[in-house]
């Protein structure tokens, strides 16, 4: 068991190194001189050259990469060109709204999608199955921001049940947080539910064809118990996997939703950075989100044995 765990953890390293290389190259192969951008329009060529030396930009590109990775390993994502503050501080300041909404989205999605997928598999081929599948195809097909605006129109503008935009921290005002976060989370839920419900249905259909399900039925176990204890438990691993890989989609969606609902999270931070060409912040954000994705999937891989005792490492 420890052997597998160590191997799985070590496998993260090459992926993150390559992510870092990709991020580094995307920004280094850009037209334009980072030093000139930082120095601003009024800088003299001398000042730019001095800055370039100070930033290490006159070194060969591979040395720059090694230096940059060394800096990353010390936990330093660099300094924002725009505000002059450290990228770490900017992210630390903005990450909680994003994480809170992402967490709420995952909880809501699993609570909606798993019962829907189970229903579809149980009533396979019947009307309720077709309806669930139709919902899940539709969930993939509508852009998140359109879902967001439709929800705003219905629940905030017409019914006036919820605020149109904005954010409240749950630590200060939990009810206020829920009132502000429920629409953004519902918006993100659309695609996530589609993905998870589909996988729940597929995985459960597979399991329901197994001999032990027939055995359970034959020995008189109730329908609900067969579905939940014998079926869903054995179908959990693929569902869990798709919740993990869907996390990348969720992180993409967050960028859009924060913009629609005016939430001061890292998605908005990214868009602002992109508009201002604040390269260190963009780099930091891509590294951070990829790191979160890799970490979430690592945890999920390692937790398989909790859900399926047949998996032993």
């Amino acid at each position: 068991m420890p052997g597998y765990i160590i191997k799985r953890i070590l496998a993260v390293i090459p992926v993150m190194v390559i992510v870092a290389l990709i991020v580094f190259l995307i920004l280094r192969l850009t037209p334009g001189d980072p030093a000139a951008i930082i120095a601003g329009d009024t800088a003299t060529p001398d000042q730019i050259a001095q800055l370039r030396r100070a930033m290490g930009l006159d070194e060969p590109i591979y040395i720059q990469f090694v230096q940059w990775v060394g800096q990353l390993l010390r936990g330093d994502l660099g300094t924002s060109l725009l505000s002059g503050t450290s990228v770490n501080a900017l992210i630390a300041d903005r990450i909680w709204p994003t994480l809170n909404i992402a967490l709420l989205t995952i909880v809501m999605s699993v609570l909606i999608a798993v019962p829907l997928g189970t229903l579809a598999a149980w009533r396979h081929g019947r009307l309720s199955d077709h309806i669930v599948m139709a919902i899940s195809v539709a969930g993939f097909s509508v852009p998140a921001f359109v879902v967001g605006y439709v929800l705003i129109k219905i629940f905030a503008a017409d019914l006036r049940w919820l605020p149109v935009q904005g954010y409240k921290a749950p630590t200060q005002d939990f009810l206020g947080f829920l009132r502000h976060a429920i629409l953004p989370a519902l918006t993100l839920t659309a695609a996530y539910v589609a993905l998870t419900a589909r996988m729940t249905r597929a995985s459960l259909l597979n399991v329901l064809g197994e001999d032990y399900i027939r055995t359970a039925h034959a020995k008189g176990v109730g329908e609900t118990k067969v579905l939940l204890r014998h079926g869903l438990r054995n179908a959990a691993v693929p569902i869990l996997t798709v919740v993990g890989t869907g996390f990348a989609m969720l992180l993409s969606g967050v960028v859009v939703v924060e913009s629609v609902f005016n939430i001061p999270g890292i998605g908005r931070l990214t868009i602002d950075a992109v508009m201002a060409r604040d390269y260190p912040v963009i780099q930091g954000m891509i590294l951070l989100t990829s790191g979160i994705y890799v970490f979430v999937n690592l945890i999920i891989d390692l937790s398989y044995s909790l859900f399926d005792p047949r998996i032993r490492y």
Binding site: K153, V256, V274
Partner: protein, 294 residues
């Protein structure tokens, strides 16, 4: 989507090309999706004939007008005809969808064939692909477009980067199982050159799944383009695209929701019908999947 009452058999020629079992039948839903998609594509292609107005013509006296005989869907904040803009707007979306699908599939196929066949390349290629998959698609596209400027081509390239890994994984998994087949061993034993083995013996196995994958890429590319435009990072606003029109409609959303509703509806229907056709093709092409109906 699955079969309901009222089935249509695909024409024998198409069925043979796709390698379908005899008597494979289509439900009513895929047929409707195909018709809907055809209508949207044709309306977009022939926008210049169908549109009642120039999509760029400003008309300051007709700002944010409700639907009328002259402006069937009303006008936007600059007095431009919404219907004409929505019709023209599809051109960019479809171009990017098709372009991204074609490029991702071609490059992904080439890399996937190599990764599946040559073990020494496999390790490296798959780690790079894992890394690309770890970067959220929208963020990667946002970064690339921000740096290299937005054009139809740069948006396609940006989307392609996050789609290629999925194609590579698919092609690689097919090649890994196909290379153990006797006909591939026979070809190797006969001294057939490597490119010929890859292209003549292994590539045809990947075609059917790639067609399915291409439809999903097309659908997802249309969505990502809309997101980029919506965030203000897409193609310049002088060219109407579904995403652009919605981005401009944001400011007036509570006043005039139709500026987001109509382009959003058309885009969603377009992506929905592509997804349904992709699902149908997958169910028809893959007997294993058909059994499980993933």
């Amino acid at each position: 989507m699955t079969q309901t009452s009222g089935s249509t058999a695909p024409s024998p020629g198409i069925a043979r090309f796709l390698g379908l079992p005899a008597g494979a039948r289509l439900g009513i839903v895929p047929v409707l999706a195909a018709i809907l998609l055809a209508v949207i594509v044709l309306a977009t292609i022939f926008a210049s004939l169908l549109a009642p107005h120039d999509p760029l013509a400003l008309s300051p006296l007709n700002r944010l007008k409700p639907p009328s005989a002259a402006f069937p869907l009303g006008t936007d904040a600059f007095g431009r005809d919404l219907l004409s803009r929505v019709l023209y707007g599809g051109q960019i979306s479809l171009m990017i969808g098709l372009g991204a699908a074609a490029i991702s599939v071609s490059i992904g196929l080439a890399i996937g064939l190599v990764a599946g066949f040559f073990r020494f390349a496999d390790m490296v290629i798959m780690r790079v692909m894992d890394a690309f998959m770890a970067i959220p698609a929208v963020l990667l596209a946002v970064a690339l477009v921000a740096i290299h400027g937005a054009s139809v081509f740069s948006v396609i390239v940006a989307i392609t980067f996050s789609e290629i890994p999925r194609v590579v994984r698919l092609v690689r998994s097919i090649v890994l199982s196909a290379r153990e087949e006797p006909y591939v061993e026979a070809a190797i034993a006969l001294g057939t050159r490597m490119p010929v083995i890859l292209w003549r013996h292994l590539m045809p196995n990947t075609l059917a799944p790639l067609i399915v994958q291409a439809t999903y890429i097309c659908a997802s590319a249309i969505l990502i383009e809309a997101i980029l435009s919506f965030l203000g990072l897409g193609i310049g606003t002088e060219t109407p695209s579904w995403g652009n029109i919605m981005a401009e409609g944001r400011t007036y959303f509570l006043l005039k929701p139709s500026l987001i509703f109509w382009p959003g509806l058309l885009l969603s229907l377009c992506v929905l019908s592509i997804n349904i056709l992709g699902d149908t093709a997958r169910d028809l092409l893959d007997p294993r999947m058909r059994k499980r109906e993933v």
